[in-house]
Symmetry: C2
Subunit: 330 residues, 2 copies
């Protein structure tokens, strides 16, 4: 059976996109405060971006605020997403036992979503009913960018297993990595704190991240991608809501965002493939490295070093004598 992750990756590859389009019918964005207007707002976005979106993410809250008719609208919006595009319901549920089963039933069967965001506070058994079926997915809250995130998420925790202290959010990432037996569990990790993204990727090398905060919240796209992308250049969904929904031309904006994401991604992957990852270099160091390369001090190929070891890289600083400017730079 195809796992949720496989389903998502198929779509991402098919449309070469990490863009997850948020369907957030904010009251202020609607022509009138009605379920009909909310539905129209979302289906217009879906129609404009169905060949660009890696996934759609309707936000349950804005539909619930519209009462029973809002739930009808949410069902219609999810049904309007073409087959083959994952729908992530942003609902941040979290409960146990038969209650968790009822929520899972509501999310997957009643609403027809493929995945859902959950809160981790109640622990593993609160997640299980949502990931028991591999084709259904979960994005677990891990690290968010709001001011209150530090109240819990940044606390240092001491595991009873006696491992070194971790931040709570890192602990959750570590747990989630081990709970992903069905290949359908991901994490919500905000884009604005790059160091945290780095830490979460280290703790959960395999998982997909849902990474809000690019656009409206002002997160740096390149820095976020560099920290969060998996080794295979996948593993991150970039949800964008208002920046697309409120644009004069949502389609053009979505196309531009996809291109920008892909450009950054290609550059990052290229720098990762070349030896001595440029990601660890500052601007000055990077310039120096380029100059050393230009001067022929650094060569790539197959070399046998004096030590007898084989190396794909050969550094010959004797050539530096011919480049006095480089010496002063170093």
């Amino acid at each position: 059976m195809e796992s949720f992750t496989a389903f998502l990756e198929k779509r991402v590859t098919q449309v070469d996109s990490l863009l997850c389009i948020g369907l957030d019918p904010h009251r202020g964005d609607l022509t009138e405060f009605s379920a009909q207007a909310a539905g129209a707002f979302c289906t217009r976005l879906i129609e404009a971006t169905a060949d660009i979106a890696a996934a759609y993410k309707p936000n349950a809250a804005f539909f619930e605020a519209l009462g029973p008719e809002g739930i009808v609208a949410l069902q219609s919006v999810i049904a309007a997403v073409p087959d083959g595009i994952p729908v992530l319901l942003d609902a941040k549920r979290g409960d146990i036992a038969s209650t968790a089963e009822a929520y899972a039933d509501a999310v997957y069967r009643v609403l027809g979503a493929d995945a859902v965001t959950l809160s981790p506070y109640l622990g593993r058994d609160s997640i299980e009913p949502f990931i028991a079926d591999p084709k259904q997915g979960v994005f677990l809250l891990c690290k968010t960018s709001n001011p209150g995130a530090s109240d819990l998420q940044d606390l240092e925790v001491i595991d009873s297993s006696g491992t070194a202290p971790q931040r709570l959010y890192e602990h959750i990432a570590t747990l989630a990595q081990t709970w992903n037996a069905h290949h359908n569990l991901g994490l919500v990790v905000g884009a604005t704190q790059v160091e945290s993204l780095d830490n979460v990727r280290a703790a959960a090398p395999d998982l997909w991240f849902l990474t809000p905060g690019i656009g409206a919240q002002g997160g740096d796209l390149r820095a976020a991608l560099r920290a969060g992308l998996r080794a295979d250049g996948l593993g991150m969904l970039i949800p964008v809501s208002r920046a697309i929904a409120r644009a004069d031309d949502p389609r053009e904006t979505a196309l531009a965002l996809r291109s920008q994401i892909n450009m950054e991604r290609e550059e990052i992957m290229a720098s990762k493939e070349s030896p001595g990852s440029a990601s660890a270099l500052t601007g000055d160091q990077s310039q120096l490295a380029d100059a050393l390369l230009d001067a022929g001090c650094i060569q790539f190929g197959n070399f046998t070093l004096r030590s007898g070891l084989e190396s794909p890289i050969y550094i010959d600083l004797r050539r530096l004598a011919s480049y006095p400017k480089l010496l002063s730079q170093a």
Copy 2:
């Protein structure tokens, strides 16, 4: 303006009850899986117990699993609760900014609940929109009794302020106590782990607890009340769902539960008032104390002891000689 806590305490005092009746239309408890059956199931419970219930607690999940009609049913059920009885929506929401505002709008305005359960993972700003109005209340997840609770809640955390390590759930209790400026914030603390209840009460002496786990989950009522009651004998709501809903006579069962809770509560308060708290006594010690009282060895009143001190209690063990059985017990 009357705060949610004042509203709740007025009701608790009026009907002399800590019983919070859960409205959980489990699929298996319904004559058919329909919103109508769910509504009927709940209104029948409300009618049977409206003069006994301190509060009602509908569980959002079971209504959401019934689709838009389920939300209509939930609205009707909440509307069927007589004025003056608080309705706590068990929804365990948790989101930030405009999303949190939309959820608060859905809970309070659309559904008409007086209070809601929330998850604390996103921190203070995720709670604010729900407690901004003092007459609306929140019960924040703190310590639950499920197996996965230990994944996060029991972790030892080190606060950046450098205080001694606490469990995460104690940290939340400490925070909640400081966030209760409007007198409308409480905590969800399971009944089955009495030590945890004790710790939470120490960290949050003023707050109301919603304490599930009596009945179906087998928590010890007396031990839970002893650990969780505030100094004024209030501060705990005991939610009971299946034990009442599935009883042959829900009303009789609710009456019996209220009596049992009140009996235990009175005993606990009495023992707290009398010097040398009986709470430290084991069952055997308690029997012995009662027997000593019966034998006249212990008298209450105003006594001047040989030391010259005044005492409200006088112990005369010389009378023991007439009660050889008591001597062998001691």
